[in-house]
């Protein structure tokens, strides 16, 4: 079950979804047991932005049928804080590190790419394009032309493999994936969370989440993720990292069969941090 992702050798095809596992916190809670049986073949960092972000006001979570809606708002220390505080510890992980970044325009994304270029601890970059264009209000990654424009401006600012994390909140994800392929992406990952609204039970018509809308994740979105994975797989020839409600090896198998090279576990890790390891073990046993 070993896999090669853009030249990175992975022992198996299971990684984490960005922002769903904090290994630095997990080492405090579980100690060396985490590294002794590290569940992921590569570790994807949470999203890093140029400047520090506190994240959205609470409440940030809402439990739904078979999943949850989050409006966390990408809290992070910013680029400088990531390089100083997080990267030295992430570099000690037993697996390759993929750093996820987001910028609101090409200039910001370019600065992030350039700052990470010489950091050999980082094996690849994942670009989060679920960021609104300040001028249009549309997510950059929802529009093939906007995404092409962004990638054209930043692609040569990094020599590292570039994974584009696609948003499912678009009219035609295959067109966006094709635009990413034509504009120099080395791989795509999908799906990010689906835009969702949590109604406040106590205030009719009002949002429960402090950030307004949020993103739905969990088994509730698995069938959507599977459809988008299949559509993207038909449209492009880049490696695909697929995710969306994967909770078992049987689920993972379906995404691999739909054309994914790698699968990521996200929300299910909240319910059990060892889930990804169990999926890995079962996939390895079947292969």
């Amino acid at each position: 079950m070993a896999a090669e992702l853009c030249g990175i050798e992975l022992a198996h095809p299971v990684i984490n979804g960005s922002g769903t596992f904090d290994v630095i916190a997990a080492r405090r809670v579980f100690g060396s047991a985490l590294d002794d049986n590290f569940p992921f073949a590569a570790f994807v960092s949470k999203t890093i932005t140029l400047e520090p972000r506190l994240g959205n006001p609470p409440p940030r979570l809402f439990e739904t049928a078979a999943g949850m809606i989050n409006s966390i708002g990408l809290p992070n220390r910013g680029l400088a804080g990531y390089l100083e505080h997080d990267l030295p510890e992430l570099a000690t992980l037993p697996v390759p590190l993929i750093t996820n970044v987001m910028g609101s325009n090409a200039d910001e994304v370019g600065q992030l790419f350039e700052a990470l270029e010489d950091r050999n601890e980082i094996s690849a970059i994942e670009l989060n394009v679920s960021c609104p264009n300040v001028k249009t209000g549309l997510d950059i990654g929802s529009d093939p032309a906007e995404l092409s424009q962004l990638l054209a401006a930043v692609r040569d600012k990094t020599s590292k493999p570039l994974i584009v994390k696609l948003t499912p909140n678009t009219a035609n994800v295959a067109l966006v994936a094709s635009a990413a392929e034509a504009s120099g992406a080395d791989a795509v990952s999908l799906i990010n969370t689906l835009r969702a609204f949590a109604a406040d039970p106590a205030r009719p018509g009002k949002a429960w989440l402090g950030g307004g809308t949020g993103g739905q994740s969990g088994p509730a979105i698995r069938s959507v993720a599977l459809a988008q994975t299949a559509a993207v797989s038909s449209a492009i020839s880049l490696p695909i990292i697929a995710m969306g409600g994967i909770a078992s090896a049987a689920n993972a198998r379906q995404f691999l069969d739909a054309g994914a090279l790698i699968i990521a576990v996200g929300t299910e890790s909240f319910r059990d941090p060892a889930t990804a390891g169990a999926i890995r073990d079962e996939l390895l046993a079947l292969s």
Partner: protein
């Protein structure tokens, strides 16, 4: 790299354990499980709990996420928890019977720190917040500390929660048991009597904030256990403490996660406005 462990660490991953006893105490449900493979937790630590069967399919097709529950008692390879059924998760957990299976992760969080020898411990709790104070009282008394227990409840029915501790002074909002008024009034009286103490508190956010203010004003240190809804319990989701802010606002300007940096924080560490923390109302 992480240095020496600053807490009792949890086995990596959930484990399935049998329910070995249940009990109704007033409006509360107590259940015990065998946990031969887990470490002895520290007072103030918590577990993420779910039933192995029927987790989901309740009200609104929930629950989906496990529930963070403080440990009430532990020893001899057993753990006990107490909860009040207030939603689909706690309703399902409250319906567990002897022989059913529980899925748990933990112990999680940091736990309380004992006072110095000769310093009195004043436990000040409210409602379901009695749980971590009950195990703390057991530990501190066994270590020879002087312990004073003050508990507040909304009414006489809920005051059944005083049974989980020994030698309790009770306050109720409606005056149907013990002191008619707030538990923090009992706390002020105890501090008047002897302020050579450390306060340990767990309960509703407004009560914790009142204890925080008393601690700051009096200079008597207080350790507050923040109980909050969490998705994961181990620092992954950044959403915990949805009713306070995940991420509790601290006096040094930092935001800390109640699951990994807490649940126990010193009163002086919290920002004065920690309860409002950016929320637009008291949800």
């Amino acid at each position: 790299m992480s240095g020496a462990a600053d807490r009792v660490q949890a086995p990596f991953g959930t484990r399935e354990v049998p329910i070995i006893g249940t009990e109704e105490i007033g409006p509360y449900r107590v259940f015990s499980c065998a946990d031969e493979d887990g470490p002895q937790p520290a007072a103030g630590q918590f577990y993420m709990l779910a039933s192995t069967e029927g987790w989901g399919g309740g009200s609104d097709e929930r629950p989906y996420l496990p529930r963070a529950i403080s440990v009430l008692a532990a020893g001899d390879g057993q753990l006990s928890f107490v909860l009040e059924a207030v939603g689909p998760g706690t309703e399902r957990l409250a319906a567990l019977e002897e022989g059913d299976a529980l899925r748990l992760l933990g112990p999680l969080g940091n736990g309380f720190t004992a006072p110095q020898a000769g310093v009195r411990a004043i436990l000040c709790g409210g409602g379901i917040g009695v749980a971590p104070l009950a195990i703390l009282q057991q530990e501190l008394v066994a270590q020879g500390h002087e312990v004073t227990a003050l508990l507040g409840f909304r009414d006489g029915e809920h005051a059944a929660g005083a049974e989980f501790l020994d030698a309790v002074q009770v306050a109720t909002d409606d005056g149907s048991a013990g002191h008619a008024g707030l538990v923090t009034e009992l706390l002020l009286a105890e501090l008047d009597r002897d302020a050579n103490a450390v306060i340990y508190s767990c309960g509703p956010p407004q009560m914790l904030d009142a204890v925080r203010a008393i601690s700051v004003a009096s200079g008597v240190p207080a350790q507050l256990a923040l109980e909050a809804p969490m998705a994961c319990g181990y620092g992954a989701c950044y959403g915990c403490g949805a009713c306070y802010g995940c991420v509790v606002k601290c006096a040094d300007g930092s935001l800390r996660r109640s699951c990994v940096d807490g649940p126990v924080l010193e009163a002086g560490e919290l920002a004065a406005e920690w309860l409002s923390g950016g929320a637009d109302d008291g949800r």
